[in-house]
């Protein structure tokens, strides 16, 4: 088996440092928000994780198309890595959002378009893994996975619009619809720094984890290959 590339080792280290730095900026450097107080600080990580997870999901749909055209299992392994890492980041997004929502909206959860779409997106990608679980033939698993991920990726934006339409016609139950709640604090200079730094840091961390996960997939593949060779 090949050694972990030096670039990845460096990236691992950089990711850790960036995470610490982003935390420092969010917790220490950024000023306390006037209305919401300290809890607003989760916002930096919330947006950071959401940003990379959403890019991951878009990337997943692109990988579906690439796999279905090339039928090369390499792309399937990359897709699994992308979905897995994105699902975890998105889960963090949702949990952080909840922590923020409790004091801001006075509830852990509301069925607002973004939250609902987020929950459904998570369910789609959990279903993606359940589907794969039930198929033994690797090519078939990859094909079905790619098809489902593509359909999931197509449906998510439509779902978002569907819920928005639902909620805009009906009165919003929770006071202060989230669009305003989220946008109604203006960010000062330090806040902006913390915000953009978090976006940057999570992008790097995502790439790092993604890379590691792809390597893990390659290893799994190699283990299978050696098992098969040993069997003959």
């Amino acid at each position: 088996m090949n050694q972990k590339p030096l670039a990845l080792k460096i990236l691992d280290l950089v990711s850790m440092l960036l995470l610490l730095a982003a935390a420092y900026l969010a917790i220490v450097v950024a000023p306390t928000e006037k209305v919401m107080g300290d809890v607003q600080r989760v916002f930096y990580f919330h947006v950071g994780t959401a940003w990379v997870a959403l890019i991951g999901f878009v990337f997943t749909a692109v990988l579906s198309v690439i796999y279905l055209i090339t039928k090369n299992l390499k792309w399937d392994r990359i897709q699994v890595a992308a979905v897995e890492v994105s699902v975890v980041f998105f889960l963090i997004t949702i949990i952080l959002g909840s922590i923020w929502a409790r004091p801001a909206w006075n509830t852990w959860w509301t069925w607002d378009p973004r939250l609902t779409t987020a929950a459904i997106a998570e369910l789609i990608y959990i279903a993606y893994f359940m589907l794969r679980q039930g198929i033994d033939d690797p090519d078939k698993r990859a094909r079905f996975g790619a098809v489902y991920a593509l359909i999931g990726g197509l449906s998510a934006p439509i779902t978002f619009f569907a819920i928005r339409l639902f909620r805009t016609i009906h009165p919003v139950v929770i006071a202060g619809a989230n669009a305003e709640a989220e946008g109604n604090f203006s960010m000062s200079g330090d806040m902006l720094t913390a915000f953009f730094f978090a976006l940057f840091a999570f992008t790097i961390i995502f790439i790092d984890l993604f890379w590691n996960r792809i390597r893990l997939g390659e290893y799994q593949n190699e283990v299978e290959e050696r098992k098969l060779k040993a069997a003959y």
């Binding site: 279905l68 459904i120 369910l123 789609i124 279903a127 359940m130 589907l131 679980q133 039930g134 198929i135 033994d136 033939d137 090519d139 078939k140 094909r143 079905f144 790619a146 098809v147 489902y148 593509l150 359909i151 999931g152 197509l154 449906s155 439509i158 779902t159 619009f161 569907a162 819920i163 339409l165 639902f166 016609i169």
Partner: protein
């Protein structure tokens, strides 16, 4: 080669590529719908199961939501669509399991017709089953709750919603019957991706039952149409990948 075939060869009708032309395409779709309806109208297995299940779901909603006159008005659309969605998975599963169990899916794939003809054939059959069940549930619901559900607008919404639901449902059911988990997998795969259809359909149906004008519900109806078009197109393009090895 026997004489009959040699004669046919010369006339060019036998050895030629049946099914390559548009006529063969539509004929194949028609053949699949014909055999599905024929078998179903003999056994009534699928429709009766969907129907009984629908009535049970309505019964459960009735008591779970305590459907008195006031609440009934606001939740009718929701109850109807939840019922259709649940009963729909039952029908889709059964319809595709029938193809899988005796190897008939292979039989369809062996025919010299475009794969998408098979998709559309199954899609129209499944849609027909769904519409038949809905056509029975609607009057029953109307009688039970003393509301008139036979309004042209509502029927249009039900058609659009069922098309969206069945288009993607046929594709996903074809997938799920080919996995180990089979029946239990379909709702898990299907519901998160048809969520938009169900929402838009509930919204539009509710609007019609509240006597809103068409302009008021134009948005959900447009959304339904958009969804239908996108997912029929997607299924059409992807069906090949889930039946070919």
């Amino acid at each position: 080669m026997d004489d009959r075939r040699r004669a046919a060869d010369q006339s060019g009708q036998w050895s030629n590529d049946h099914g390559q032309n548009a006529g063969g395409f539509f004929k194949a779709i028609g053949a699949i719908v014909w055999k599905d309806l024929r078998a179903e109208f003999r056994s009534w297995e699928l429709i009766s199961a969907m129907l009984v299940f629908s009535l049970l779901v309505i019964l459960i909603f009735n008591f779970a939501l305590e459907l008195d006159i006031k609440t009934r008005q606001s939740v009718t659309a929701g109850v109807l669509w939840a019922t259709f969605a649940f009963a729909g998975t039952l029908g889709l599963n059964r319809s595709m399991a029938l193809e899988k169990d005796r190897g008939c899916l292979d039989g369809l794939l062996l025919a010299p017709v475009d794969r998408s003809a098979i998709y559309f054939g199954k899609f129209f059959s499944n849609l027909a089953f769904m519409l038949i069940v809905e056509a029975i549930v609607l009057p029953v619901y109307s009688v039970l709750y003393n509301t008139n559900l036979f309004q042209p607008g509502l029927l249009l919404v039900i058609l659009l919603g069922s098309v969206g639901y069945t288009s993607i449902g046929t594709l996903l059911a074809t997938m799920s019957v080919q996995t180990r988990a089979r029946d239990i997998l379909l709702p898990i795969l299907l519901f998160p991706v048809v969520f938009a259809v169900l929402l838009a359909a509930v919204r539009a149906s509710g609007g019609i039952l509240d006597n809103l004008t068409i302009a008021d519900i134009a948005f959900p109806i447009n959304l339904l149409i958009t969804y239908d078009v996108i997912f029929i197109a997607a299924s059409f393009m992807l069906f090949d990948s889930i039946v070919e090895e």
